[in-house]
Symmetry: C2
Subunit: 293 residues, 2 copies
């Protein structure tokens, strides 16, 4: 069993760290909002700072909201970099900028440390069930070293490539999911305003080239008008923000991702920041002055 640090104990991080403790690992914990009692009760050790976590653990896992939080946890005065030493490994499971990830990994590499980016999908349900999808970037050696930890938290674990490629894959995932939802939204608003029954249209399209996980799951939500998350629009806005800012830095045009972001913005303007992302259909409905149904 190994000494594992875990920084960021929110809705996702808490159950993930719990799986590691339950498997017998020695956990060193830190979170902006304090360490949850059940984790220390189970044997986890609360630390005063990311620096202290990095001093005590060999592998330091991060699960925080966004790029600036990762940067702060790693490089602030009492951050991970201030406590880490040669041969240790940082594993960032947050969903953040791929380009920033490469910079962070380079700085830690100068200290003799490995870096694996390993963003997840599957949400709170997957975190609790230990069934997250984990998309990893890093050297084969570093990946092999932390794989046993990943296997306690997830099921579908892929090493996509070198450092940053896990984050790239996560962004690609969020682009496709957002645009597939928007596609189903356009099709159902069109069909419904034309007088067709959207559920019959959806049924007719399943199994053909239009079929997708999104047509199945999010299409049904649009028709049944169930917009409880699921995955909140404000979180998808963050992810498309990463897509668009990284695309701009790299010189890539993402025209439909940009439009999807504007439609999410319209949802937020109409009180929908916490709707499930299938609620993007409501922005299209406003534009068409017509509700699917």
């Amino acid at each position: 069993m190994s000494k594992v640090g875990f920084i960021g104990l929110g809705i996702m991080g808490t159950p993930m760290a719990g799986h590691l403790i339950a498997a017998g690992h020695e956990l060193f914990l830190h979170s902006r909002s304090g360490v949850p009692g059940p984790l220390t009760d189970a044997g986890g050790v609360a630390c005063a700072s990311p620096k202290e976590v990095a001093e005590k653990a060999d592998t330091i896992i991060l699960m925080v909201p966004d790029t600036p939080h990762v940067e702060a946890v790693l490089f602030d005065e009492s951050g991970v970099a201030a406590g880490i030493s040669k041969g240790k490994c940082v594993v960032d499971m947050s969903s953040i900028s791929p380009l920033a990830t490469k910079e962070f990994a380079e700085k830690l590499g100068e200290l003799g440390c490995d870096y694996v980016d390993a963003p997840v999908s599957g949400g709170e349900v997957g975190a609790k069930a230990g069934s997250l999808t984990i998309m990893c970037g890093g050297t084969e050696e570093a990946f092999a070293r932390v794989l046993p930890l990943f296997e306690l938290m997830g099921k579908n674990i892929t090493r996509v490539g070198g450092v940053g490629d896990g984050q790239v894959c996560k962004v690609a995932n969020q682009i496709i999911v957002a645009l597939n939802i928007e596609a189903v939204g356009e099709a159902l608003v069109f069909a419904s305003k034309a007088g067709a029954d959207p559920e019959k249209v959806r049924q007719a399209l399943m199994g053909g080239f239009a079929s997708s996980k999104v047509l199945e799951v999010h299409g049904e939500r649009m028709i049944k008008r169930t917009f409880d998350p699921g995955f909140r629009i404000e979180l998808h806005q963050k992810d498309l923000g990463l897509a668009l800012s990284n695309a701009r830095q790299m010189g890539v045009s993402l025209p439909n991702t940009a439009t999807a972001q504007e439609l999410f913005n319209s949802c937020s303007a109409n009180g929908g920041a916490a709707w499930d992302h299938s609620g993007i259909v409501r922005a299209l409905e406003l534009m068409a002055n017509h509700e699917v149904g």
Copy 2:
């Protein structure tokens, strides 16, 4: 066995009519480009005009390129309406405007005739194999009457609703397929320019919420650079044209469909009218000055 007219004997219509003849139906045939010899050899009767077809057959099937062709076949001086009589049924299997379809059906209704719109997907391969997907609009009675003919040409046959709803469903299908392809294109150009291996990204995304028939089939084409059709961009441009013109008439906004059409236009401008529709990725590649790979 019944007397069936078939107007429009191109790449799709010829094998479809062939299945009806093979099943023992009496076929009355007309096509702008002449009736193919093998169909008359098999027992089909060539007719001089759509009018003559409508005089001789009880059910008149159309399989022509676009809305104006259907209008001409039905309502020109020597068209179907000039020869048809009460109790007969027109079945339009072309992919045309849903709104125009409702007008055509109304005019034929005034002559005491049924109308079923029944556009297909599955292409030349499906037409030859008799495995087309057929999306139908019309009354239950009219649908029941022509279903035995559909079963000779297709496998997945759905009555979506009343007249026009088959065409609405086909347009919805083409919107989703185009936008799902565009989504995979944006994700793969992003991932590739960021330095990740697009095939590893695609593999990692299969099975999750980003999974779709398009990620499977068209994603692979983008990575393997195989842009032979498949389904030609110029045909998808026609279908998105139907989507956008009907949307405008109905008062529906389709922002990403509009952008996808512009990207197809860019493909055509670069010699790609006959590329497979997965070639939309090339328009994104031009914008990013980077080829997926």
